[in-house]
């Protein structure tokens, strides 16, 4: 396989990046691009760590919120049934509330109008990211191992199989070129202890995240902005089981409690806040201080923004007893669960948003975070990527079955036409939602009271008007609403 000079290796589809979206797309293309089978090359040097059920340590601190639509897609690929049951938590209710007591709204699984009665009632599923990645990679390895020995995508040796083949290369992606001699694109990969080699690909799919190197090689640029905030992630153990997904919209950002574990005995905290407060929460606060701050943030009524981190000065006053809960549906926590991989019990990632200027270029198409990054307040990032993968798989299947060149601009344009408006609409909606709940950042008396009243009015209106409530749930759970 490692060759220099002109490429002798070629693949029909090259997917750069084997995260959740990339691996799912590889499985979907393998399933759909058949007769003749397409040769799929997956490029990613990283491996997923092993997963074990959570008790005193967790495999990883990150979770993803999977909507029912994404769950159907994963089930159709045979991934969902292979996920360990301990990694999935179905939540039937979502409780979202704001700074004051009048801003609250509850969504129920019964609001999913299009749900069949045979399906379990769930608004969404919280899946540990480590388990999902491990399951996806296991499925890929199973598929790759089933093939004939020519599963090495090595040139046109005349053998063509009915179903395609997946080859997973652990090399790193370097550059992308479009030589004049060959109509296809050329990927230049490099691996440790091997000379760099090139692979010709009819279509290159960039699934390598927000800082996509493949996207940098094309003429597509990125328009985005950092929120100058970070999201602090931790796993805690509850005192009582809780299966309600909770989100409090604080002035600086949302604080989400996502149920985890088999019976909801654990929770995943995702707290989006300013850089200074995130630094304090992640590095300086002790475990008990972190839990106290979380408890205060969840149960304190009429929260204001404050000039400095409010929870620090609040903690010194110790005026909020741990057993007083203003919102009984919100659980209380007893301890932090560290991660097994690096032993840390808290982690943070920076928040930003953005979109690429287009989703397809010369034989390159962007999916997932390489195309769009949204605020995590509605857990939509992975779901948008999975919807991208589903659409792209369907589009490529139609083109492949009619014998067309899948790297053709007109084929890729179908994908762009379908996904770009929906993704941009979701991006704008989430940004607007964040701004609505962030206003005003500092308490200004009448202004913040009025804003709270208007927000509360809007939320109660949505809750009471059933068609509106079910439309919001339909949009959030990814069902086709346009």
């Amino acid at each position: 396989m490692p060759e220099t000079g002109s490429p002798t290796a070629s693949a029909d589809v090259a997917i750069v990046g084997a995260g959740v979206v990339g691996s799912t797309l590889a499985l979907a293309l393998h399933r759909h691009l058949i007769e003749p089978g397409a040769r799929i090359l997956l490029v990613d040097p990283r491996r997923a760590p092993a997963w074990q059920p959570i008790n005193d340590t967790a495999a990883g601190l990150r979770t993803v919120a999977i909507t029912p639509a994404s769950q159907k897609f994963l089930a159709s690929l045979g991934v969902w049934e292979r996920l360990p049951q301990g990694a999935i938590t179905a939540f039937p209710t979502l409780f979202a509330y704001g700074r004051s007591a009048q801003e609250k709204i509850t969504f129920d699984a019964a609001d999913c109008v299009g749900r069949l009665s045979t399906e379990p009632p769930a608004l969404g599923y919280i899946v540990e990211e480590t388990a999902l990645l491990e399951t996806l990679h296991r499925c890929l390895e199973r598929v790759a191992g089933e093939k004939e020995p020519t599963g090495n995508a090595s040139g046109r040796d005349g053998t063509s199989s009915v179903s395609g083949s997946i080859c997973w290369s652990r090399a790193c992606f370097d550059t992308l070129t479009w030589p004049a001699s060959h109509p296809w694109a050329q990927l230049h990969l490099s691996e440790a202890e091997h000379p760099p080699f090139a692979v010709a690909a009819s279509l290159v799919i960039a699934a390598d995240g927000a800082r996509s190197r493949v996207r940098h090689q094309t003429e597509l640029t990125w328009i985005g902005r950092s929120y100058h905030q970070r999201a602090v992630v931790a796993i805690v153990e509850n005192r009582e089981p809780n299966l309600v997904a909770i989100q409090r919209f604080l002035p600086r950002g949302p604080l989400a409690i996502l149920p985890m574990g088999q019976h909801g005995m654990y929770s995943n905290i995702v707290w989006s806040t300013n850089e200074s407060e995130a630094d304090w929460l992640e590095t300086e606060a002790s475990a008990s201080q972190f839990l106290d701050a979380t408890h205060a943030a969840l149960h304190r009524v009429n929260v204001d923004g404050g000039q400095h981190a409010p929870y620090r000065r609040f903690l010194s006053q110790s005026s909020y007893p741990i057993d007083r809960r203003s919102f009984p549906v919100v659980p209380s926590f007893q301890r932090l669960i560290p991660s097994r991989t690096d032993g840390r019990d808290r982690w943070s990632f920076p928040l930003h948003f953005g979109s690429a200027t287009g989703y397809d270029a010369n034989r390159v198409v962007l999916v997932g975070d390489a195309a769009h990054v949204v605020h995590p307040l509605a857990g939509q990032g992975v779901n948008l990527g999975l919807a991208d993968a589903q659409t792209l798989a369907r589009v490529l299947k139609q083109a492949w079955q009619t014998g067309r060149d899948i790297g053709d601009p007109s084929v890729l344009a179908v994908y762009t036409r379908e996904r770009l408006p929906l993704n941009t609409a979701m991006l704008v909606t989430l940004s607007a939602l964040r701004r609505v709940f962030a206003f005003p950042t500092r308490t200004r008396g009448l202004g913040s009271t009025l804003a709270s009243s208007f927000r509360g009015l809007g939320m109660q209106f949505i809750e009471r008007v059933a068609p509106l409530r079910s439309s919001v749930v339909r949009i959030a759970t990814g069902e086709p609403w346009l």
């Binding site: 979109s355 989703y359 890729l412 344009a413 036409r417």
Partner: protein, 308 residues
């Protein structure tokens, strides 16, 4: 109040617009003592015959300075001034928008006067000594907030002390300017005043800060004006003239100082750091608009690439 009248009368620049064609019977200077009527029939005749030597601006000036403090911004003041100059009361029909032209003339006049006093002549006698000392110091030697506050307060003091004779009738003036016929000219005068005040307070910005600062100054000017007319003491005009000042040690002054405190909204807007420097990222709304625009063009391009 005598010093004030002398001050305002002493700066009648630009109001003496004499027509170019000299008439034999025409008297070139328009400064007639107050109360003197036209003594010769030829004078009125020549005024009626050719272009009148009494220009609108001069007439407005005479009317505002002499008759408005007693009669208000009204038709009576215009008629009294016409009678005073020696014209028929029907001449007031020349002002087709009515007494609001008096208001407009006065507002431009106070702005001109303040500009001349503070900038050209360096005459700070209408400003309190402490504030003037701070405002006259070079801006680099004084803390920024204090200097800006001193400049704004000195300009405000000059303007409000010039306006003192008209305090009783100022609500009438504002109401006249708010009417549908004349609110656009009133807005023009307000923008001129706001621009002047912002420049005087040291604003040399050339970006969005220009607009934000002038919006803040406009709100400051208007709220101070409203406070000033709302806190008119309940005395007759004689007693009002007898008191030392309508601005100093009054609620208006305290209000203006509160509005310009170091942690006020005004100072926050005035000193907000420029966020649109090239080294920093753009605002979120701009980024979202760019995303929408690029998305729309990419979507259109996708439609033009053909169908599969």
């Amino acid at each position: 109040m005598e010093t004030l009248r002398l001050t305002t009368k002493a700066f009648k620049v630009g109001a003496l617009l004499v027509p170019s064609r000299k008439h034999i019977a025409h008297r070139s200077d328009l400064f007639r003592p107050i109360g003197a009527k036209a003594r010769f029939a030829t004078q009125t005749h020549s005024e009626a015959a050719g272009d009148s030597p009494v220009t609108k601006a001069a007439f407005l000036e005479r009317c505002t300075l002499d008759h408005v403090p007693t009669r208000g911004f009204s038709l009576e003041a215009l008629q009294a001034a016409a009678e005073d100059v020696g014209l028929s009361p029907a001449w007031v029909a020349r002002f087709d928008r009515g007494p609001v032209e008096l208001v407009e003339w006065w507002r431009e006049h106070e702005l001109r006067t303040a500009r001349v006093l503070l900038l050209e002549k360096g005459d700070w006698r209408l400003v309190d000594s402490t504030v003037a000392a701070l405002a006259r110091a070079p801006s680099t030697q004084v803390p920024e907030y204090a200097w800006t506050r001193a400049r704004l307060l000195s300009f405000l003091q000059t303007i409000f002390r010039l306006r003192a004779p008209y305090r009783r009738f100022w609500p009438q003036a504002l109401a006249l300017q708010l009417q549908p016929n004349s609110w656009s000219q009133g807005l023009g005068v307000l923008t001129k005043a706001v621009d002047e005040l912002a420049w005087f307070a040291g604003d040399r910005s050339a970006d969005m800060q220009w607009y934000w600062r002038r919006a803040a100054v406009a709100s400051l000017l208007q709220t101070t004006e409203l406070y000033w007319i709302a806190t008119l003491p309940d005395t007759t005009m004689l007693e009002q003239n007898a008191t030392s000042d309508s601005f100093q040690d009054s609620e208006t002054w305290n209000f203006a100082q509160r509005q310009l405190a170091d942690d006020s909204a005004f100072m926050t807007v005035w000193w907000r750091p420029n966020q649109n420097l090239s080294s920093r990222s753009q605002s979120e709304i701009v980024a979202l608009l760019r995303i929408l625009g690029q998305g729309a063009s990419a979507w259109a391009r996708a439609w033009s690439k053909g169908f599969s």
